[in-house]
Amino acid sequence: MVERNPTLVVLGHAVMWLGLAVVVFPLYLALVAASHTPAEIIAVPMPLVPGGHLIESFRSALVGGSEGAGSTAPVARMMWISLVMALVITVGKIAISLLSAFAIVYFRFPLKNFFFWAIFVTLMLPVEVRIMPSYKVVADLGMLNSYAGLTIPLIASATATFLFRQFFLTVPDELVEAARIDGAGPLRFFKDVLVPLSATSIAALFVIQFIYGWNQYLWPLLVTTSEDMYPVVIGIKRMIAGGDAANEWNVVMATALLAMIPPALVVVLMQKWFVKGLVDTEK
């Protein structure tokens, strides 16, 4: 039902603007903070209009070596670590989930149901629950402070496997049979038919998993101890020294803004596919 009532239109817009303000104001404040010197920021009241030091803040964040009390590692390196981590996790998750869903749906093998349920049950165990044993394994394998340690334990994904399984189950049996008659073997069918048909789901998962990987905090906190392997999310935290030390809030804010750019880009660029993947199934 669409009602054209002037009061409701005004109210609707008011709610939207309010929501927008709630979302945008902190971002604006971060931008303002990044454009002042540390001394200006801690002044009371805090300035609400941008100052003139924006570029300096970003430069000292990216290159590092500012004079803050916390970590002063260069953010450019951290961004790179984060990007590699997010991409490896995302691509790894999608690849492994596609293959395991393919196995579960299209092959008959002993204990198939057991494997499916084993995967399914891990859905209910988030990383935090298994974090101690995972850490032990990674540490014993000598993977601390490495890309492998950052990514491999996070790649296995019951959610994505389950999602692809559900999608594969909706692919008509006749399509499989037509491919068999056409002479396509299992991998050929997977590559030529299943993966192209899953394209939109893959895109949606890519967006979700990229943000998941980029935002990882607890796990990198455990497995990285040296500054040159910090992802940016950890980096922000390490820049803030505890106690009364003087933090360079402008650099912290600049780093936070930098850290938001890649996930935002992924969402913006893939939005069309993302929505398509969640809404329609192209069959």
Binding site: E174, D182, G183, A184, D192, V193
Partner: protein, 355 residues
């Protein structure tokens, strides 16, 4: 091109005593270039039989040979067959051209030859304007033609059709039926066609295999199946409206219906005792005299003809008369005459034809 021989084929699901047997020993010989239709009600095993020929279902027992080669353990792709599915099963993300070319690409046919074969098939099926389109941009009839095109380009020994016309509307179905017939005349490829629609079966098939509950009831030309049905099932399944079946007892030169009505016969029954008498609706005629008494209950005007529904004694009986003739009145009892040539006798117990 090749003949198909189906020898005592059995299909069951599951193992041991709890196995569920769905096809009970079917045998048929299909000649090279023949068009055979497998027809039966849903669940009779007709599709399963076809899928066993295709290699999509395992054969539990018996043997299927395509052109002298036993194919029981041969992969579908190596059986030299092509199949058209009920829902077409086109690859949704591929263009019409790619859909038709996919099998050839896998078979590593050179690109130029693929192009040429697809173009030729597209010309036969009038699909040239659509080669670059995706299946979802096509109508049901066009998709159906793409599915046939995919079968044609493979130049197989055998075409298998699994109810390919069921998803089309009535007009398109009639048209496509003719196209399939034409195609078969042009290409002359051995074809097996599964349908539940008797009109399709009668019009397309050079021979029909009528199936019921996993058994083959009859194999024969449309004329044989219609004019000399082998069992009461075939008599009741083929023909619309179906053959009237009157259960009763043959005694001397007469026939007594269950319920006691005695009917005179133009000539004696082939055997006495419990039998079922079959009469096609168009083979009885209203006449003066002492024919069979039909109490008229309902009339249906179909245009060229009129159906008269009624009862002889307790048994329902349908009569087909010329639409231009004066119909009997509802409630009236008319007398029917049936020629001796049009009486079909079946065993009352197992339904097999006895004369």
């Amino acid at each position: 091109m090749a003949a198909i021989s189906i020898l005592n084929v059995v299909k069951s699901y599951g193992h041991g005593p709890r196995a569920n047997r769905v096809i009970h020993g079917v045998s048929a010989e299909i000649a090279d270039g023949e068009f055979v239709v497998i027809v039966g009600p849903s669940g009779c095993g007709k599709s399963t039989l076809l899928r066993m020929v295709a290699g999509l279902e395992e054969i539990t027992g018996g043997e299927i040979a395509i052109g002298q080669r036993v194919v029981n353990d041969v992969e579908p792709a190596r059986r030299d067959i092509a199949m058209v599915f009920q829902n077409y099963a086109l690859y949704p993300h591929m263009s019409v051209f790619d859909n038709m070319a996919y099998g050839l690409k896998i078979a590593k046919v050179p690109a130029a030859e693929i192009r040429q074969r697809v173009d030729k098939a597209a010309a036969i099926l009038q699909l040239q304007p659509f080669l670059a389109r995706k299946p979802r941009e096509l109508s049901g009839g066009q998709r159906q033609r793409v599915a046939m095109g995919r079968a044609i380009v493979r130049q197989p020994q055998v075409f298998l059709f699994d109810e390919p016309l069921s998803n089309l509307d009535a007009k398109l179905r009639a048209q496509t039926r003719l196209e399939i017939q034409k195609l078969h005349r042009e290409l002359g490829v051995t074809s097996l066609f599964v349908t539940h629609d008797q009109v399709e079966a009668m019009t397309l098939g050079q021979r029909l295999i009528v199936m019921n509950a996993g058994h083959m009831e009859q194999i024969g030309t449309p004329e044989e199946v219609y004019l000399r049905p082998a069992t009461t099932f075939v008599a009741g399944f083929i023909g619309s409206p179906p053959m009237n079946l009157l259960p009763g007892r043959a005694e001397g030169s007469g026939f007594v219906l269950d319920g006691g009505t005695a009917l005179g016969l133009p000539q004696g029954a082939p055997r006495s005792g419990a039998v079922t008498l079959g009469v096609r609706p168009e083979h009885a005629d209203i006449a003066a005299g002492d024919g069979w008494p039909l109490a008229v209950e309902m009339l249906e005007m179909l245009g060229a003809e009129r159906l008269v529904h009624g009862r002889i004694g307790p048994t329902p009986f349908t009569l087909r008369v010329d639409g231009t003739r004066e119909p009997p009145r509802i409630g009236q009892t008319v007398r029917l005459l049936v020629g001796a040539a049009h009486l079909h006798w079946f065993d009352a117990a197992d339904g097999r034809r006895v004369g």
